[in-house]
Symmetry: none
Subunit: 222 residues, 2 copies
């Protein structure tokens, strides 16, 4: 019986490692790497041109972070399963990534066979977490995905609000943001007020915290 290979797109800003990873995956009889991208924006461009079964994504990439990238992929309605492969063992990253729409999460410390398992699992449409304490997390995550709105108010934000949030977190003043976005200071000010309301903040620093947590502050290229 003929079974077609799992088509995989890789996204990682570490070129050498991505090349190695490609070799590793192509060595397996049932995998095939069909595309590579070095940051979130390039992933999106690539997805416009070609589809694949699985996207293996690093979270820390320049320009557009992995998390933002996941959200954008979802909002554009691309039909691709996302497997996060990253160095961050932090629970928060796992949560954020899964909430944003990832199907699997594997740390780079994992051995190759674990990654293979993860790919095959995710390919079937099933969740995969690489962690020891993963089960807890999965349960938490799955048994009560109801209070989604409160959990992730991010989905409540309008496009403009998100935009303003990013600039604010990077330390721009209302005035500066207004100039960049061609808006009156007053308008930007309103967005800020809304952000505070929606995200339940009383201080600007809490907004920054929120932005950090949600991967809205990737380091930009020089």
């Amino acid at each position: 019986m003929y079974t077609s290979k799992v088509k995989i797109i890789l996204a990682d800003d570490h070129a050498v490692l991505m090349t190695g990873l490609r070799l590793l995956l192509n060595n397996e009889p049932d995998f095939e790497v069909t595309g590579e991208a070095s940051d979130g924006e390039k992933v999106l461009e690539l997805l416009e041109k070609q589809s694949a079964d699985i996207l293996i994504l690093d979270l820390s990439m320049p320009n557009m972070s992995g998390l933002e990238c996941i959200r954008e992929i979802k909002s554009r309605g691309h039909d691709i399963k996302i497997l996060v492969l990253t160095m961050y063992e932090d629970e928060n990253y796992v949560k954020e990534a899964m909430r944003a729409g990832a199907l699997g999460y594997v740390v780079k410390q994992a051995v190759d066979t674990e990654l293979f398992d993860a790919i095959r699992t995710v390919d079937k449409g099933l969740r995969y977490l690489s962690f020891h304490n993963a089960q807890l997390l999965i349960n938490n995550l799955l048994t009560e995905p109801s209070r989604k709105a409160e959990d992730d108010p991010y989905s409540l934000l309008s496009a403009r609000e998100r935009e303003v949030l990013k600039y604010m977190a990077r330390g721009h003043s209302m005035k500066q943001i207004g100039e960049v976005l061609c808006l009156s200071v007053k308008t930007v000010d309103t967005y800020k007020t809304r952000l505070m309301e929606k995200l339940n903040c009383t201080q600007k620093s809490q907004l920054v915290e929120y932005a950090l947590r949600h991967g809205l502050l990737p380091v930009k290229n020089m």
Copy 2:
């Protein structure tokens, strides 16, 4: 004419990537990966048992960091050339590593051919830096390791200034920072002014950018 292969030991705590890297290197006719280690201590153990021409070392590893590892290798008198392969583009890391005794420094963002070049160069006993502006660095490093200051303005900052920078980048106001650090707003204001001077900024957003770039904004746990 027969030429023996360059024997390489890999050290990286990211197992998947190390496996990929091994494949990549073994694919080259003149390289041969003869050992792997997942942290500094294991590198040292391995070196007691086997020698090799080159050690490709990640800087961020658990237990014993890459830098410590380099120092220890040198102090034990092992005869192996060290090539650092890491994600850190920061000049300081380069310097530290080279001072500690590394012969080459390549960032993971580099493409495979660059890594190959680096290996071959280092194998000849020559220095290799992967940077565009590397040559400057080499010269600085070797001719006058004295004027550390201008190179990295971060080292110019006083403890207080760094502290204030972190809070500022996280979106706290002068007033808030003053409260946390038990200082007058005025004092904090002065630090801010100094920061701007030292880091050559005219806007707060540039300070935030600087902080981001230098990893001063880690995501905190919940």
